[in-house]
């Protein structure tokens, strides 16, 4: 059976041409608007592996952690003097030494944690680049401020625990907390 033939092929629908042009325009816009941002994002992820990125993250974390311990240390000495504890006594030296070591440990571990977290973030960033390239949804990334807040909370918790664990200072810190609360209440009531 023969249906003839030799006629010209049917023309493409005008709607198909319009869709192709729409796709081209959208892709061109992606190139102009989003590709530069993606390129910056890729560059930023590689920069996370740079020394300066680690130095910033670890330096900030160490400063925050030192602050958490030093605030408590500043309260400790006057409180011990006020209780008539001799600063040259072995009890004073031991207590102060134990807390200083705890400070060293706390600051060191929190700074080290900030470095490891930076490595995590760098790998997560590169994984996100891969996901973007595969057309998959990228993971939400924690920002530098979020990471610093986490370090700060960790430092406060560690310092609280270290000072509470130290038997010689536990009572004094209870007193300081009570005095501060009383002071606050007096101000409010006054």
């Amino acid at each position: 059976m023969c249906f003839g033939g030799g006629g010209s092929e049917p023309e493409e629908l005008e709607s198909k041409r319009a869709i192709a042009e729409q796709a081209a325009i959208q892709l061109k816009n992606v190139g102009e608007t989003f590709v530069p941002l993606e390129n910056q994002f890729i560059a930023d992820q590689y920069r996370r592996f740079d020394d300066s990125s680690y130095e910033n993250a670890m330096g900030r974390a160490a400063t925050v952690a030192s602050g958490a311990y030093e605030n408590r240390m500043r309260q400790l000495n006057p409180a011990m003097f006020a209780r008539g504890i001799d600063p040259s006594s072995q009890a004073f030296i031991d207590s102060s030494e134990a807390l200083t070591k705890a400070q060293g440990r706390g600051v060191g571990l929190i700074a080290a944690d900030a470095g490891l977290t930076n490595t995590d973030a760098a790998f997560q960033g590169l994984s996100n680049v891969v996901r973007v390239g595969q057309g998959l949804q990228a993971d939400i990334m924690e920002g530098n401020i979020d990471r610093l807040n986490t370090n700060m909370q960790l430092a406060e918790q560690m310092a609280d625990r270290d000072f509470a664990k130290n038997a010689a200072t536990a009572n004094i810190f209870g007193s300081i907390g009570g005095a501060a609360t009383a002071y606050g209440m007096n101000r409010r009531m006054g």
């Binding site: 092929e9 493409e12 041409r17 869709i19 192709a20 042009e21 796709a23 081209a24 325009i25 892709l27 061109k28 190139g31 102009e32 590709v35 530069p36 993606e38 390129n39 910056q40 890729i42 560059a43 590689y46 920069r47 592996f49 740079d50 680690y54 670890m58 160490a62 040259s88 030296i93 102060s96 030494e97 200083t100 070591k101 705890a102 400070q103 060293g104 440990r105 706390g106 600051v107 060191g108 571990l109 700074a111 080290a112 944690d113 470095g115 490891l116 490595t119 995590d120 760098a122 790998f123 590169l126 994984s127 680049v129 891969v130 996901r131 973007v132 390239g133 595969q134 057309g135 998959l136």
Partner: protein, 178 residues
């Protein structure tokens, strides 16, 4: 190339690549690179248009996307998978060194503070951190943490990259699509 001088890590990494690889990944290191800047936006009409100009335009778009993927993203995939080792990732030695430095510096600073504090009262104490159990246990804990986290990172990368590779396999079997 991206700006920033010789200290720019981007340029430093780039300069360490051999010439062939440099040519391959150059666009990835160029932040102004736009893979779609030369694509046509109109379906050709008239005599020279071809039989199926809309299909031809679609094909050009798909090729541009493939070129983009090969130029900007595939090198990162190769780079990332190259960082996975049998036990963790290539970042472990640097992580261990940074961990050790951070803990040692903090312990030395704390020992210095304690020495100065005692000296104010005319006292001396033992501030040698080398014999200090707190310092040693911090180091061990820090190193263990670095190793554990590196192992976790490896698992996460393999899981993530594995998902990506299964997506690619699905695409080549016609089960997915751009």
């Amino acid at each position: 190339m991206c700006s920033g001088g010789s200290e720019n890590p981007y340029e430093r990494v780039f300069s360490q690549l051999n010439t062939g690889v440099q040519n391959e990944v150059r666009p990835m290191f160029d932040e102004s690179y736009n893979p779609y800047e030369n694509i046509p936006m109109n379906v050709p009409r008239g005599r020279g248009a071809g039989k199926r100009p809309a299909d031809d335009l679609f094909a050009q778009l798909i090729r541009a996307q493939t070129r983009d993927y090969m130029t900007r993203f595939a090198p990162v995939e190769r780079d990332l998978t190259g960082m996975i080792t049998r036990t963790g990732t290539t970042s472990l030695p640097d992580d261990l060194m940074r961990t050790g430095d951070a803990i040692t510096t903090a312990a030395e600073n704390a020992a210095g503070q304690q020495r100065r504090r005692l000296e104010r009262f005319g006292l001396t104490g033992n501030t040698d951190i080398g014999q200090d159990n707190t310092y040693i246990s911090s180091l061990v804990g820090g190193f263990n943490d670095a190793i554990d986290r590196d192992r976790d990172r490896r698992s996460a990368l393999i899981g993530g990259v594995g998902n990506v590779s299964s997506t690619s396999r699905a695409r080549t079997k016609g089960m997915g699509g751009y």
